[in-house]
């Protein structure tokens, strides 16, 4: 096991600075960005997501959500039909009508996202103009924004990125005399938010705000005094939009595992000039607990080979966690998109010979995977059961997006997600 870094001063100098990346184009076995609605609509509690698309879009979201788990969802689809396409109906008037009906049914909604899809983008339906027009009708009670969740523009978690990026321009400007504030960007489970709030408080860092907020009426202010930490690795657009508003990005590894969490917190501590001794003492208990929680799973995971199919862009940070803190061997780290700048500090912690792949040609990747015969495969729902049937152990990747896995206290849970498929194979005797 490598010596884990507790602060950026402990970081190794080498690592994977020049990553070897296999770029693939072909069939991609991934979700489109619309899928993000499944968790975003729970996060922002007075927001509604209206996809402007086809029956396929509606079917995707309800299928990806585990088929109809929410009795009254805060999402819906305005399904384009042939009358719209043939020009028999004015699509903008139709959209206004649908939005009117929706808001009448849900008077509690304060923020409406019009979400672009493959069909709406191919026919060049301008949703930003539609949002402007609808704002004119429904303001000030309801604010209407738009973003793209289409498969031709976004892959899976990028839908959260484009959604949050659409919020950035409407965030209030911080006052002229604002003190430095910290913005944590990316959807986090409530329990994780609360843990981070306590830690930042003990470190003397604050005020701390979150994007997305729980309610659209609590949008955090932003400006040159704002420093932001990305809690998720897939927020490239949002990061850029925040920088355009003057906010400063605190680049750090992502808060997975004891080491990732410590380094992530340390990036904020450095920006606030927190005393190093205080930082070590505040984070000591969490690091120690995370280490203890990991101990149980390390025995099962150490020296096992793991293969990542591209899915959520969480692959690189998770590979770093599994390699450094659980002793796993990385066969291939597939990711939809490798954002070198946001991942720079992650790449530095990975073995220099790590094999990355970006994009996908799923049949060829399956060939490589079968040839390597790894102990554990991280992949999407379309591949998991067929690979299990072939005799491989799999971890379905979508669970990593739906489970609290950030922070010290969840490090053990995160390792457990990978250990369980292996344990299951050992236990089941039929």
């Amino acid at each position: 096991m490598p010596e884990l870094a507790a602060t950026s001063a402990d970081l190794p100098v080498a690592g994977c600075v020049e990553p070897k990346v296999l770029r693939e184009r072909g069939q991609r076995e991934v979700f489109c960005g619309l899928t993000g609605i499944v968790w975003l609509h729970r996060q922002i509690q007075d927001a509604f997501f209206l996809v402007v698309g086809s029956r396929t879009c509606a079917h995707l979201i309800q299928s990806a959500a585990g088929v109809m788990i929410f009795a009254e969802p805060r999402f819906a689809t305005a399904i384009i039909d042939e009358r719209d396409l043939a020009g028999l109906a004015d699509m903008n008037a139709e959209l206004d009508r649908v939005v009117g009906r929706l808001l009448e049914r849900r008077p509690d909604i304060r923020l409406l996202f019009l979400v672009g899809s493959c069909p709406s983008e191919v026919i060049k339906l301008d949703l930003s103009r539609a949002a402007e027009r609808l704002n004119g009708i429904h303001a000030p009670g309801v604010r209407v924004l738009n973003y793209s969740g289409s498969g031709i523009e976004t892959t899976f978690t990028q839908g959260e990125d484009t959604c949050l990026a659409s919020l950035v321009p409407v965030l209030p400007q911080e006052p002229q005399d604002a003190e430095p504030s910290l913005l944590v960007v990316g959807t986090l489970a409530d329990v994780v938010q609360d843990q981070f709030i306590r830690l930042f408080d003990q470190l003397g860092i604050g005020p701390v705000r979150f994007l997305p907020p729980r309610r659209s009426t609590e949008l955090p202010p932003v400006g040159p005094q704002t420093r932001f930490l990305l809690a998720q690795p897939f927020l490239a657009e949002t990061g850029r939009a925040l920088e355009e508003r003057g906010a400063q990005h605190l680049v750090a590894p992502f808060p997975f595992g004891a080491e990732g969490t410590a380094l992530w917190l340390h990036a904020a501590a450095e920006a606030w000039g927190t005393d190093e001794a205080l930082f070590r003492s505040v984070t000591a208990a969490g690091r120690e607990r995370a280490g203890r929680a990991l101990e149980k799973h390390r025995a099962e995971l150490a020296d096992k080979q793991i293969f990542f199919f591209p899915d959520s862009q969480l692959e690189v940070p998770l590979a770093r966690f599994l390699s450094r803190e659980c002793g796993m061997r990385l066969v291939e780290v597939g990711t939809p998109y490798l954002h070198r700048r946001h991942l720079a500090s992650e790449l530095g912690l990975l073995p220099s010979d790590t094999a990355f792949s970006e994009g996908q040609d799923v049949e060829k990747q399956l060939d490589r995977c079968r040839a390597a015969a790894p102990d554990l495969i991280v992949c999407g729902l379309g591949l998991a059961n067929p690979l299990e049937a072939e005799g491989f152990a799999t971890k379905w990747a979508i669970e990593l997006v739906f489970t609290p896995i950030h922070g010290f206290e969840q490090a053990g849970d995160l390792a457990e997600l990978f250990a369980r498929p292996l344990r299951r194979r050992d236990r089941i005797a039929v």
């Binding site: 072909g26 069939q27 991609r28 076995e29 991934v30 979700f31 489109c32 960005g33 619309l34 899928t35 086809s54 029956r55 396929t56 509606a58 079917h59 995707l60 309800q62 299928s63 990806a64 088929v67 109809m68 009795a71 969802p73 819906a76 689809t77 305005a78 399904i79 384009i80 039909d81 042939e82 719209d84 109906a89 699509m91 139709e94 959209l95 009508r97 649908v98 009906r101 929706l102 049914r105 493959c118 069909p119 983008e121 191919v122 026919i123 289409s150 498969g151 031709i152 523009e153 892959t155 049949e363 999407g380 729902l381 379309g382 591949l383 998991a384 059961n385 067929p386 299990e388 049937a389």
Partner: protein
């Protein structure tokens, strides 16, 4: 543009996938953008199939749109052929690819692959999943069996005297509601009658099997939604008659046996004389008295809705108060059935409309899809699932057909399980103040934790129409003594009764006058 919270059916290319995935040695090349591969999980997760659907997606992205998406399709089709070596291929477009008009059929033809390639035109902005499945199956059957069709005007060949009657079973597909078990049950039933099964399709068939369909004497159509179009074509081209009865329920199964025996020129009497299902006795058993006249609302695909309505009405003694379907293609059949029960048919794929109808009708039970299960849960009405769209729970590990005599047994259990048992329901009606035995407590055999009775008196339930009549305090509290599942109807009936008679205030007397007037 239609506002859709939930959709009963996927797009038509998902229907094509249901046919392709059911079959062996067939491959589907689908021109589709990134993300449409979500459909794979319907099969691998909901149905728990151990193999990937045999589908290659071209996965175009925005940057490809300015370039050559047609070349992308040709490469994908060529690679798929080389890798999977199927006996036949189907090619088509998903909703987005339809808009870019690349003509997958023409592109595939240009590749001159040495296998049959069947192009599909599935208009995604007009049609839906079941239609897509039917159209795909029809085009496959036509392309593969067509060359064997006898010349027009030729006489059908008579069955050799030494061969048992032979039929095909048409319709079962991947992601079908209990299709796997129905096929087993019906195959067994046919064998007992003396009929052999030639080809089952699409489920488990190879393209070469479709080419042999014409050799059978007749077709058994289990799911008209999927096989209706193909069966009609076979009837025209091969003079193969087809069954019309869907064997769901005891009565329909007996009719089905008689129909098949007619087509096969066999005597159905020996099989009909056996008592093959427990349903008739269970329905006549005295404890089932509590089922009599229960008001049920039925919604699903046309086949299951119509069949289950007959079971509910004739075999359990329920009262059908609503009947509907999301299968617009089969609206006529559902309208005809609804006329039998003197109810207005509900033909819609709008979940909100179904919800409003159920709220209005206040049935005592809902027999529907997973969507109606949610509606019923919200309205506090028991519900059983009788139709697709499917959920992982609709693929039980145990043998659980809907068709044939065992299917009738399964239906009895399914339809009775969500209800409160007879005596329990009576006790609830008699002792309404009991703190752990009240409206919010579910049937005790379903083992839900007992919630404490709400302390505040409930607010008045919404009335169907703004009414000019008001309720006296006594009448209002008397109304609350009526079991919750009929209370809404009692309220509406009483208000209508009062309005018709120009009464401004409803008293306890009015309530009971109305009860006597409407009866039950």
């Amino acid at each position: 543009m239609q506002l859709t919270l939930w959709t009963y059916e996927g797009p038509p290319h998902v229907g094509a996938m249901r046919v392709a995935t059911a079959m062996d040695d067939l491959h589907y090349v689908l021109h589709a953008p990134q993300g449409d591969t979500y459909a794979d999980l319907l099969f691998t997760m909901i149905e728990r199939l151990p193999k990937r659907p045999p589908v290659t997606y071209t996965t175009f992205q925005a940057r490809d749109l300015g370039a050559d998406t047609a070349a992308l399709f040709k490469d994908a089709a060529r690679d798929a052929y080389e890798r999977f070596q199927p006996q036949a291929m189907i090619v088509g477009a998903s909703c987005t690819a339809e808009l870019i008009q690349d003509d997958p059929g023409g592109l595939a033809r240009a590749l001159a692959l040495p296998i049959p390639v069947v192009p599909l035109e599935l208009p995604a902005y007009q049609r839906k999943e079941n239609w897509g499945a039917a159209e795909t199956f029809y085009h496959l059957v036509r392309a593969l069996a067509g060359p064997q069709a006898p010349a027009a005007g030729s006489e059908p060949k008579a069955r050799p005297a030494d061969r048992r009657p032979l039929c095909n079973i048409l319709g079962p597909s991947a992601l079908g509601f209990r299709h796997r078990d129905d096929v087993e049950e019906i195959t067994r039933l046919l064998a007992r009658l003396g009929v052999d099964v030639h080809v089952v399709a699409p489920l488990g068939a190879r393209p070469a099997d479709l080419a042999r369909l014409g050799e059978a004497d007749f077709n058994v159509v289990l799911y008209p939604e999927v096989a209706g179009t193909a069966a009609s074509w076979l009837e025209r081209s091969f003079k193969q008659p087809r069954t019309k009865t869907v064997p769901i329920g005891v009565g329909a199964t007996r009719d089905f046996i008689a129909e098949v025996a007619g087509l096969a020129e066999l005597d159905p009497a020996p099989l009909l004389d056996e008592m093959q299902s427990r349903l008739p006795w269970y329905s006549r058993s005295v404890d089932s008295t509590y089922l009599t006249g229960k008001r049920v609302f039925i919604f699903g695909d046309a086949t299951h809705s119509v069949a289950v309505a007959r079971v509910a009405d004739e075999e359990l003694g329920f009262e059908v108060v609503g009947l509907g379907t999301y299968s617009r293609e089969f609206a006529r059949e559902v309208r005809a059935a609804a006329a039998n029960y003197d109810v207005e048919p509900l033909i819609t794929d709008d979940y909100l409309e179904v919800e409003a109808k159920i709220a209005e009708l206040q049935p005592e039970m809902v027999l529907g899809t997973q969507m109606e299960r949610h509606i019923a849960k919200r309205l506090g009405i028991p519900c059983a699932v009788i139709s697709a769209p499917v959920h992982v729970q609709d693929f039980p590990a145990r043998y659980s057909p809907q068709m044939g005599f065992e299917g009738a047994n399964v239906l009895f259990d399914t339809l009775v399980h969500p209800l409160m048992m007879g005596l329990e329901e009576h006790l609830l009606g008699m002792f309404r103040e009991d703190f752990e035995f009240h409206d919010q407590a579910g049937p005790s055999h379903l083992g839900k934790a007992v919630k404490a009775a709400p302390e505040t008196p409930e607010t008045a339930e919404p009335t169907a129409a703004e009414s000019a009549v008001s309720w006296s305090g006594d009448a209002e509290s008397e109304l609350r003594k009526i079991p919750f599942f009929v209370r809404g109807k009692a309220r509406r009936n009483t208000e209508r009764f009062a309005q018709d008679r120009g009464l401004a205030l409803i008293t306890v007397e009015t309530l009971y006058d109305a009860k006597a007037h409407f009866g039950r």
